[in-house]
């Protein structure tokens, strides 16, 4: 009764094969990340020093540090987050908690999806037209950050909507049946239980924002600017553009410096992500159902 039939044997063999194939694919995914990281650390690691991180570039950007670009990237990411997270979360709340399935919400959904598909260089041109010229921000951190914010809005909206929809509908109905308004329900029950998912969206957004080059090139990022920005009206250097510049525009920048810039850029993204992941894990630990 417990003997294996030929069919059992075959099923088990297939099962093993399938498992190993999937496992291989998953490992294949990790491989590029590992290679990129190890090359960067090996080649760029020696460039990292106190001076590299905390002084401006010198000698036509072939020597010195990257401080203005480092600070500029933090500015750009910060202002972009301030602009896009409230808008994105509010839009997602509307779509998920208030809107019925009408032609209007379908149009909005379609717009969100299409916004995600627009190439970043097109966003850059939109940013020039809208923020730099029309709204008169000039080439500034503000214009560049707003362009980045528009570009990353779909990420925030989609992630937030998924997080909201993961909260059981029964919780909402229970609240409504006690006479709670939609907003009371959102504030007391829905939002506290979806913050961790919303943060996932923000993490993704941070990574994209920090790494993008095209949208900031014409809107607020400077080729070379040895000063730190003093406000959102200033232009600024940014790590992503600086990396592009030292690898393609500056004839004899040492390789070490180029890899160093890339390493710092990745390091910032990873550090920001790690912080939010830690925060998210902490929140999940407090999740209550």
């Amino acid at each position: 009764m417990f003997e294996r039939t030929p069919l059992n044997v075959r099923n088990q063999r297939v099962e093993r094969c399938v498992k190993w194939i999937f496992c291989g694919m998953a490992l294949l995914l990790v491989l590029p990340v590992l290679i990129i990281l190890s090359v960067l650390v090996a080649r760029g690691g020696p460039a990292i020093s106190f001076e590299f991180l905390f002084t401006p570039p010198k000698q036509g950007m072939t020597a010195g540090g990257i401080l203005p670009a480092l600070v500029g990237t933090l500015w750009l990411v910060g202002v972009a987050l301030v602009a896009s997270v409230p808008i994105g979360v509010a839009a997602a709340l509307y779509l998920s908690e208030y809107a019925r399935d009408t032609w209007l919400t379908r149009v909005i959904n379609l717009a969100v999806i299409n916004l995600a598909g627009v190439p970043s260089i097109v966003h850059a041109l939109f940013g020039v037209g809208a923020f730099v010229l029309f709204f008169g921000c000039g080439t500034s951190i503000l214009a560049a950050s707003l362009t980045l914010a528009v570009m990353t809005l779909p990420v925030v909206i989609v992630a937030t909507r998924e997080a909201l929809q993961a909260v059981p509908q029964a919780f909402r109905e229970a609240c409504w049946n006690m006479g709670a308004t939609r907003w009371q329900t959102i504030r007391r029950v829905v939002l506290p239980n979806s913050v961790s998912g919303i943060l996932t969206g923000v993490i993704l957004e941070v990574s994209r924002t920090a790494g993008e080059t095209a949208p900031i090139m014409f809107t607020g990022a400077a080729f070379f600017l040895p000063f730190l920005p003093s406000g959102v009206g200033d232009q600024t250097m940014a790590l992503s553009l600086h990396l592009f510049v030292v690898t393609t525009q500056v004839p004899n920048a040492p390789h070490e410096l180029q890899y160093g810039v890339a390493l710092v850029l990745i390091g910032i993204v990873l550090a920001l992500n790690a912080t939010s992941i830690a925060f998210r894990t902490w929140l999940r630990g407090r999740r209550k159902w």
Partner: protein, 256 residues
């Protein structure tokens, strides 16, 4: 509705409920009297739950659900209640599956009073304790009011849900198969509570358990395939001679 006697709290006339093109409730007319337990029995898919959902306008948050006919509560058509939230506060609802909100036991029960504007701690404490006592849960949770409501056992969560419904001091309590996720002993305790409550509030009890309706309900309606077949004094429904043969077959367990 126009000539409804004073002791009628819910007056339903020609109620039809559709989900899209599907008619789940067809032309139901009945009334529920103040301070009675009104039982609704019937097999799955007979429209019992849809009937409850129409009473406090839950169709508002059910996509595709359409309600026709008139439903009046306390003498006023529910569609004419300008303040939907006030209407819902006067009608407590308990679903088949317990829903412990991911808040502390205390906050679960204090939720509705807080919505109603009660802020004073003493007053909240009093409402929480009396609601939990009435739901036969106080003794089990009085030492851990700060624990998460969603981590209580299923039976406790269901009593928590009932306590929450009572905390809004409703005039009408809608119970939708409350005993599905509850063990028999707890069910009996809740049933005792319901018998007590009869003197204060009106209860509409939807149940799959024919005997539960017999134990609790003053009058009982039998729903079948979206129609209300018969409404009668509960004992008459179970023993009387003059009744619809379909009702007889159902209460005697020949189908359903």
């Amino acid at each position: 509705m126009v000539d409804a006697p004073a002791d009628v709290i819910v007056d339903v006339h020609g109620l039809t409920v559709r989900y899209g093109d599907r008619v789940v409730l067809r032309d139901v007319t009945l009334d529920v009297r103040t301070h009675e337990i009104f039982g609704i029995i019937g097999p799955a898919g007979s429209g019992k739950t849809s009937f409850l959902r129409a009473l406090n306008r839950m169709d508002e948050f059910t996509p595709g659900m359409r309600v026709e006919g008139s439903v009046s509560f306390a003498g006023k058509d529910v569609r004419d209640w300008r303040n939907l939230y006030a209407l819902r506060r006067r009608i407590g609802v308990v679903f088949p599956l317990p829903v412990g909100l991911p808040l502390s036991v205390y906050d679960n029960v204090a939720f509705a009073p807080r919505l109603a504007g009660v802020r004073a701690r003493v007053e909240l404490d009093e409402i929480v304790e009396s609601s939990l006592r009435r739901a036969a849960l106080w003794d089990e949770v009085k030492d851990r009011l700060g624990a998460l409501g969603s981590l209580l056992s299923g039976g406790q969560q269901q009593r928590l849900t009932i306590a929450r419904a009572l905390s809004q001091k409703p005039d009408l309590l809608l119970l939708d198969e409350f005993s599905i996720a509850v063990d028999p002993v707890t069910t009996m305790r809740i049933e005792d509570v319901l018998k007590e409550l009869r003197h204060e509030i009106t209860i509409v009890l939807v149940t799959n358990l024919v005997q539960q309706a017999r134990r609790l309900a003053d009058r009982t309606a039998f729903f079948l395939d979206g129609a209300c077949v018969e409404i009668a004094e509960t004992e008459d429904l179970f023993t009387g001679a003059t009744r619809d043969p379909r009702t007889r077959d159902y209460v005697e367990g020949r189908f359903g």
